[in-house]
């Protein structure tokens, strides 16, 4: 009887865990959503447009090389509800962007998940978790 109880409990836990994972995000096929990264660089352009805002920044690589990254973000409506404005990011700002990178290996990423964020040198943070 003990083993049946154990089996029953295992069954419940398994199903609950399975259901929790089902609620996790399913990916945009272009991006590697399992492996978010954070890049640091100087903003060259911030595009406040529908349906996707975009951040462009130059990231210094090893040996002084510079790689220009292109970052997709959320729509202005969603970002505005997270206290962003069209002036939140300016060319010249030094920021850290948490994003999921393109599977193609190109310096392109998506920073629009609820886990996405922008951190400025002075410590202030722009988030995007509120919809």
């Amino acid at each position: 009887m003990k083993s049946k109880l154990l089996l029953f409990c295992t069954l419940i836990v398994t199903v609950l865990v399975f259901c929790a994972s089902m609620q996790a995000h399913h990916g945009n096929a272009a991006y590697d959503e399992q492996h978010p990264i954070t890049i640091n660089g100087n903003v060259t352009e911030f595009v406040w447009s529908n349906p996707h805002c975009q951040i462009y920044l130059d990231v210094k690589g090893e040996k002084g090389s510079v790689v220009s990254w292109s970052v997709e973000s959320q729509s202005p409506g969603i970002l505005r509800r997270n206290s962003w404005t069209r002036d939140s990011i300016k060319p010249g700002d030094h920021i850290a962007v948490t994003l999921v990178p393109a599977k193609s290996g190109a310096p392109v990423g998506f920073s629009g998940e609820k886990s996405g964020k922008i951190v400025f040198d002075d410590g202030h943070v722009l988030k995007m978790d509120l919809r």
Binding site: H26, S49, P51, H52, S70, G77, K103, S104, A106, R131
Partner: protein
């Protein structure tokens, strides 16, 4: 012994079913604030509402719950290259990538808010996404006999009891997908929605799609929840072709391995 095993299995199923029934209904509800505890107004649904979904990659029903397709729908489905789901490819042909309207009912499954504005004759549903709107006539009129096919259809609604708005819609074109996974529908699609206000701040949303030209059985969506968002103003989220085109060249194509033009 077989009887005991059977009863154990049956008992387990009952417990599991009740666990899910309880979590599905109670989890999204907000009973903690005074406002939420106040009774919902009767036969009234005005407000800004937000679907508590994941991220725009949903379909009317999960793939596992989709009924068998007719040959007509299978041919359409085979030609679709979705960006999400089990057949996802990076460089797909989702109509919204060229700024076609996502249309109805797909627009319901994005995590961007919509606003209901109720008047005596109709309830207007304004969507932030696509900057689109949809009238739901509640003046007792019947659905039209032969409506022109449109992106958002023609909708009539009525109250069932004091808290459930039932909406019937027909008159759709067949250019839209049922969601991000690429499932097609025909112009014969008929959609039945139930917006049940389970408390002041929560709608339980159920959707059923009848489309015998495309599917052998009705599509039954899972119960979904929408939350009232007091103080939120819906913004505009149109797909702007010039901006989308620039975005495609600068980000989408490099992301899928095409050279930056």
């Amino acid at each position: 012994m077989p009887t005991r095993s059977a009863s154990l299995i049956f008992g387990s199923a009952v417990v599991l079913a009740s666990v899910f029934a309880t979590s599905a209904r109670s989890a999204p509800q907000d009973k903690n604030t005074k406002e939420a505890q106040a009774p919902a107004p009767k036969r009234e649904i005005t407000g800004v509402w937000l679907y508590q979904g994941s991220g725009g990659q949903e379909s009317t029903a999960p793939e596992k719950d989709m009924p068998p397709m007719t040959p007509w729908a299978q041919a359409r489905f085979a030609a679709e290259k979705p960006g999400y789901g089990s057949r996802a490819v990076p460089d797909g042909n989702d109509p919204i990538l060229q700024c076609d309207p996502g249309g109805f009912p797909r627009i319901m499954f994005f995590p961007t808010p919509f606003e209901f504005v109720q008047t005596p004759a109709r309830i207007m549903q304004f969507f932030e996404r696509e900057h689109a709107w949809r009238p739901i006539w509640i003046d007792g009129r019947a659905l039209p006999k032969d409506p022109d096919p449109t992106w958002y259809g023609y909708a009539v609604g009525h109250w069932e009891g004091d808290y459930t708005l039932v909406v019937e819609s027909i008159g759709f074109n067949d250019k839209t997908w049922l969601g991000a996974s690429g499932y097609p529908h025909s112009e014969d699609m008929r959609v039945t929605e139930r917006y049940q206000r389970v408390d002041r701040n929560t709608i339980a949303y159920n959707i059923r799609v009848d489309d015998p030209k495309a599917y052998a059985k009705p599509i039954i969506g899972p119960e979904r929840f929408m939350k009232l968002r007091p103080g939120v103003e819906i913004g505009e989220l149109p797909c702007v072709w010039s901006e989308e085109n620039s975005f495609t060249k600068r980000i989408r194509e490099p992301a899928v391995g095409k050279p930056n033009r």
